[in-house]
């Protein structure tokens, strides 16, 4: 199957990437090329094959629930686009 312009708009919305009308058209064509290329995977018989999520079999390590990091809020907020009184500022979301 191939993607149409509405599909591209939906995917872009899910990915939170704004696309202009012109970009949507190029994107549709390029995504369809890539999807056409990965389509060959469908022909492979994978019955009974366990999906491989990771290169090595590792189990999630747990650590004691204690504070290990020092507070460097000022350093970390120094790279933020907009902060005030130790808080990150974003457009109003609750009226």
């Amino acid at each position: 199957m191939s993607l149409n312009l509405e599909d591209v708009a939906r995917i872009a919305r899910l990915a939170r990437i704004e696309l202009s009308a012109a970009e949507r058209e190029t994107t549709r064509d390029q995504l369809n090329d890539i999807l056409g290329f990965i389509e060959q995977l469908q022909a492979v018989d994978t019955t009974g094959i366990e999906p491989m999520a990771h290169a090595v079999d590792v189990v999630q390590r747990l650590r004691p629930d204690v504070v290990t990091e020092t507070n460097r809020r000022a350093d970390f907020q120094a790279v933020a686009p907009e902060t005030e009184a130790g808080l990150y500022l974003v457009p109003r979301v609750v009226e």
Binding site: R16, D33, M52, A55, V79
Partner: protein, 492 residues
Amino acid sequence: MSDLISSSLRELSAALAAKKVSAVELAAVFLDRIEKLNPTLNAFIALDRAKTLAQAQAADEKRRVDAGATANSPLCGIPLAHKDIFCTRGWRTSCGSQMLANFVSPYDANVVEKLTGAGMVTLGKLNMDEFAMGSSNETSYFGPVKNPWDVSRVPGGSSGGSAAAVAARLTPAATGTDTGGSIRQPAALCGLTGLKPTYGVVSRYGMIAFASSLDQGGPMAKSADDCALLLNAMAGFDPRDSTSLERPAEDYTRDLEKPLAGLKIGLPKEFFGDGMDADVRAAVDAALAEYRKLGATTVEVRLPNSGLSVPAYYVIAPAEASSNLSRFDGVRYGHRAPEYDDLTEMYSRSRAQGFGAEVKRRILIGTYVLSHGYYDAYYLKAQKIRRLIAADFVEAFKQCDVIMGPTSPSVAFAFGAKSADPVQMYLSDIYTISTNLAGLPGMSLPCGFGNNNMPVGLQIIGNWFGEAKMLSVAHQYQKATDWHTRMPEGVK
């Protein structure tokens, strides 16, 4: 001082120990070359002479005060440069993206911490494909890196700045990362030696994430010997990376002098088909002949599913990337659009402006293959095929000690040759991607020159945790040949 730029890390270490040169003098030699040659090559995208020289001075002091400590740290005072994917405290760390064009990292990646701890001196940060997505360095926000062997050609990617900088002798060594071939392919295209370790050997902490189940950092340098010394300093368990492996420390130099007699080299039938250019094949065949002369035998092996590695990768890697790159939302760090009406628009506009075309494409592909109704058909399917690809290697390694083949199907191509066609560009990594999917170590070393006198890389794939053996196999070849000592004419 001209011989310093071509010296091995051991030679530099000995010169520093014998006080023939100071770390400050050594750093200055390379900084001066960078000043002269970087405007053409565009390999470095962040430089800070004062910071570098202060670090060099500290290394000199460390060597002066405690000769014993530096014996344990042979790299003390030797300069290197980091791919700009590694967070480096106090340095702008951009990952080749406009998204992070103003991001000065507040912390060090584990790799940076370890190499700095060993006394190495940071010369600067190296250009790369944006968020490590690319095979030609043409996707960098800071413009492409030029191949020092021919500035009309690409250096490979995504660690193209690292490769070009080492090839042009702007730094003795560099760090790189490899998700689908990003250390090995540029190493091949620029004529150097690069190693991607087994997944989990080098910590990913502070290495800006692209595809977390595939990303692995490693050394890029002039020789296997240099790479072994660097890997000794880079590898090791790190509790801050949840997939870092808890294994006893290894000395990766331990087998370097082991002779090759009895070595069994597996040659995958699938790597020696039509896909490889004739000039690459000639150089690889000559290298294999040299190996036989050195006492190795070759045996044909099969990797029947390796042809599926590129399509499987272009499901798995974009899926992981779409998740990893969701953190760039214009709130805590990175680019924020100057104008927006509400929060959603702030996110989508900041990301539209901050990311380049290839990064957006991969995020969109990843979003699609993970979206409701398509997850099983694409993502789960690709993960099953990933297992088949890994299982092929298990079978192959029953017959051989290492696998060899070309690193890249062609020598470095011209700028623009593949950039209009994403799928053609993706196929540049056809021989390297399967090792990332399997988590295996892989390396590339120079084995001659092809068309237009461009370097050709020989790929060595090792068994899981086979780094010491691979480095030995590469080192023995480099003792018998001199391809790795060649230097581009234009930067002499």
